[in-house]
């Protein structure tokens, strides 16, 4: 399951890369979004950033269920952190890093 989620992330990032190459004003590949989430005793702690080291502060984050229904929306804080109480069902978290810059992680791939 871990491998599957890892591959999903790679697929997403590669798709973003391809889209960037085709775009008339190509976003730099070095600006790829990165996301990771950890389970804490009473919450989920997500961190986001970019592969060029730039800040993700203020960028939107969505928590969605298996049917892609948005359960929660929010913005990353100054340190690129977003925390929330985990829903009871399986869910995934999407970091919207800009046009064609999204990365998604699934709750099955979260650990401490």
């Amino acid at each position: 399951m871990k491998e599957k989620s890892h591959m999903e992330r790679i697929v997403i990032v590669r798709w973003v890369s391809a889209a960037a190459l085709l775009a008339p004003c190509a976003a730099a590949w070095a600006h790829a979004p990165v996301l990771d989430c950890y389970i804490e005793p009473d919450k989920v702690h997500c961190e986001a950033g970019f592969s060029d080291g730039s800040s993700a502060a203020g960028r939107p984050v969505k928590v969605l269920d298996a049917q892609n229904k948005v359960l929660l929306e929010g913005k990353l804080d100054q340190a690129g952190v977003f925390e929330f109480k985990p829903p009871p069902e399986a869910y995934h978290v999407t970091f919207v890093g800009g046009d064609h810059h999204e990365v998604t992680l699934y709750s099955s791939n979260f650990s401490k």
């Binding site: 990165v34 990771d36 950890y38 961190e47 592969s51 080291g53 100054q78 340190a79």
Partner: protein, 278 residues
């Protein structure tokens, strides 16, 4: 008579066993971890060994480190310093046919899971090199990245002596060039004496020692430990011809020249990890 490289190397190694000590310049403080570029945070196992990495020993006994810490960086957040001494445990490390006191540290994932750069710093207790009647203290740095998000890898750490990287130490291709600045008290050291060694043996964290055959054989003793000088601005450039760990040491650049009444060499060490293009 021309001695074949293997035999000259073996001879030198054998002599090392009989000599009171090897030259102080051949010593390297290691701060070994298997992987410095992590996709996600993971448990990290460190080996802190004072040794001769190209020859796989002999290993010198370490006293309890003065400090072992990690500075973690994230864009938009203040750096976080974590004292790691509680994770240290004394061990014996086998290298070059003898065992010596060393340290191992198991850092749990929770401590090093955050996206970004984590700078690991080791300040060892000065080591008395009896053969030369002098102390050696090597401030050692390793940088681990999580998630491919760069942050503070190039930051100085306010150490008395330090090698400040100008390239990311955790992301280097075989055949590349690594650049850094040699600092003493935060100031570049012109023409600093720099030595470079390849970690030439496999590191076995379970058996706690170096193992297997050497990765490469030096054609001449001078190739075992490469020597260079920094330029007038304290900048040093190092070629990276083989995948693995490369240690860079700037020697005797500290302000403290005496310890317990004896001469002391305060050195700065930085470890750089290299991978093949595949």
């Amino acid at each position: 008579m021309k001695i074949k490289p293997f035999f000259s190397s073996t001879l030198l190694f054998a002599l090392g066993g009989f000599l009171p000590s090897l030259p102080a310049q051949a010593h390297f403080q290691t701060l070994y971890v298997a992987e410095s570029a992590l996709e996600r945070g993971d448990n990290l196992e460190f080996a802190l060994v004072f040794t001769h990495p190209f020859q796989g020993g002999p290993t010198m006994p370490m006293s309890e480190p003065r400090s072992f810490s990690m500075t973690s960086y994230r864009a938009g957040a203040e750096p976080v310093v974590t004292d790691l001494r509680k994770y240290l445990r004394p061990i014996e490390w086998e290298g070059g046919g003898r065992r010596a006191a060393a340290y191992q540290a198991s850092i749990p994932r929770e401590v090093v899971r955050s996206l970004g750069d984590h700078v690991f710093l080791l300040e060892p207790e000065p080591y008395l090199e009896a053969g030369e009647d002098m102390y050696i203290q090597q401030f050692t740095k390793v940088i681990v990245n999580v998630g491919g998000v760069p942050s503070g890898w190039a930051n100085t750490q306010n150490l008395p002596v330090e090698i400040q990287p100008l390239s990311r130490p955790y992301a280097n291709w075989t055949g590349g060039i690594f650049r850094a600045i040699v600092l003493s008290g935060g100031v570049p050291v012109p023409f600093a004496k720099v030595e470079v060694e390849y970690m030439n043996y496999a590191v076995d964290l379970h058996k706690r020692g170096f193992g297997g055959k050497p990765q490469i054989r030096a054609p001449h003793p001078a190739y075992e430990r490469l020597s260079a000088l920094a330029d007038a601005n304290g900048v040093v450039a190092v070629g990276l011809p083989k995948a693995g760990w490369w240690g860079i040491a700037a020697l005797d650049i500290g302000a403290e020249k005496v310890h317990k009444g004896k001469t002391m060499s305060q050195d700065a060490v930085l470890w750089v990890q290299v991978k093949d293009m595949e």
